[in-house]
Symmetry: C2
Subunit: 338 residues, 2 copies
């Protein structure tokens, strides 16, 4: 009987990031210190502004990818720490520039840097962190890492420009949406995971496996992020529900509902998201249409598909705590939608 209770307990346990963060905890402390040390500058505004966004925290998902991938590859040294900080600097620089481009006032529930200071400072401090990241990589000395992260940075910028020019276009296809997601989000996850194998000097098949894992993990992560913007669950995550709707962002749930809708419904999406002509009732109407067409549910199904690819990519690695933690992270990233 005790066994049954235990199994029930197992079955009901929701996936979490606990295993991942526990494995990364010691490393993450050192990475956070490296981040603090390397964002210093005699120009005080730089550590102030960078500290504001970096302290806001987030889950440090990307640097954790590097740390855990390196351990899974049997790496015993310290280089993954500095490279993990590089990944976080690139991510932070893109967040600073994103908030300028999106004219966002909030970031993870706190005022964004561009709201506290201004767009100018955010642009320039982003440039500083980006440059500092390449200084750190150069000090590490791996041309492979430099190749992977400089390419990732260029692809991220391309993705952001693509997103900018396709913004507020309800005709955006699922393919075009995915292309943006792959570039602006998944590419850095892929690079972060891949360099774990690079520092461990593992064969290219393991590098590729981690790249595939990171790409598909990143896609699933972003799809769920976009679905959460229309979910009651979102309110608990420090982001207001409906932000994307108010900004007219064309995300997967909307793409599905638009394509499955009739002429009247499409006119609704065009008015609200293209013309940004919205009334107080429109967000509720959007929820209703998304629900009618199973758009959120099916967005999660799409994410599950990419999650499955990410999981299979890890198949070539021996079982162990790091691999289990990464797989649980995939499940968490999808199940957090509920």
């Amino acid at each position: 009987m005790g066994v049954v209770v235990s199994l029930d307990g197992e079955r009901e346990k929701k996936p979490s990031l606990e295993a991942l963060t526990a494995l990364a905890e010691n490393d993450l402390k050192k990475v956070n210190q490296l981040i603090l040390d390397n964002m210093q500058s005699p120009v005080a505004l730089i550590p102030q502004l960078a500290g504001h966004i970096i302290a806001a925290g987030g889950k440090r998902m990307r640097p954790m990818m590097t740390l855990i991938a390196a351990h899974m590859c049997g790496y015993q040294g310290e280089r993954h720490l500095g490279l993990s900080a590089c990944v976080e600097f690139i991510h932070t620089a893109t967040l600073l520039h994103d908030d300028v481009v999106d004219e966002s006032d909030l970031r993870r529930g706190r005022p964004s840097a561009n709201a506290v200071w201004d767009n100018k400072a955010s642009v320039l401090v982003g440039d500083f962190l980006f440059s500092r990241s390449f200084e750190l990589m150069t000090a590490d000395g791996s041309l492979d890492v430099l190749r992977i992260l400089s390419n990732a940075s260029a692809v991220i910028a391309e993705g952001e420009v693509l997103q900018l020019i396709t913004a507020n276009d309800t005709e955006t296809s699922e393919t075009a949406y995915l292309e943006v997601v792959k570039a602006k989000t998944a590419k850095l996850f892929a690079a972060a995971a891949q360099i774990g194998a690079v520092v461990a000097e593992r064969p290219s098949v393991e590098e590729e496996a981690l790249e595939t894992f990171g790409t598909n993990f990143g896609i699933a992560f972003q799809i769920i992020d976009d679905a959460l913007d229309y979910s009651a669950k979102q309110a608990t995550l420090g982001k207001a529900v409906g932000d994307d709707f108010r900004e007219g962002k064309i995300t997967l749930p909307v793409i599905l509902a638009f394509r499955r809708g009739d002429d009247d419904e499409r006119a609704f999406w065009r008015r609200t998201l293209e013309e940004l002509d919205q009334t107080d009732e429109d967000l509720d109407k959007a929820f209703e249409l998304l629900n009618k067409h199973d758009a959120l549910k099916d967005a999660v199904e799409r994410a599950r598909h990419y999650g499955a690819i990410a999981r299979d990519a890890l198949g070539i690695f021996d079982d162990g705590p790091e691999k289990s933690a990464l797989i649980e992270a995939i499940d968490f990233c999808i199940e957090r939608a509920y």
Copy 2:
């Protein structure tokens, strides 16, 4: 008699960039092609916007520094071409972000990219060019070059932030002004010249000499640029006279006039440059005060000092066409004030 005429002709010949551009001409064609090739992207807005600012041209001073320095160091290969393109990409990225920060509508007499497109696109395409530059450097494979240019990029960003927080402050000291100029302008000239010695695998004493040359050339260049903003000569260069005055920029001529002025004059500078409370007559009044205190003349004298250091730094190199052309470029950069 013919000899006298010839000497008179020599004496009257103003220094120009002709010798420098003639020496760099063949290389520059290849560099321009590399720039075009490497700013391509399936996202069409990227080459469009990058092409707009890169085609606007300018004198390609920074990439020429790399080309000519490499030749002066006896370099026979092709690597200096790609690295010269890297230098121009970094410069272009900073111009794009500068125009956003300065809210400029004009760049070299043409509408700036942020005026034709918008700030968002300028930020992101800047990020793309910056990333692409590091991709190119990584492909070149020299960690020394990567160290020099990633450090230069971080210092440039620091200088821009410093300029931002000291903007519109008439109490700005000449030292603080110089610190900004060294970081935001001179650092890239220094790095561009230095990597000429790096590709040629010359001893560190030559690297340092070229770095010193570039730093001091860059300082002289920027001081004259700032003086020209108050000079009739400026009208011929595609930039409106008095732009810096209208934006309240605190440049060396103003710093000198402010410190040499009486209370009434300081009140004038505070009203016009700090409070940006300007009437139609104020620019003429500014000219008058600058003239009264020899502020433009003495700014040029300061530039001459840095030019002399730049010239002496080249002393360790054998005489030859490249060295002469670089020295003439120093003279040109200062004499263009007249």
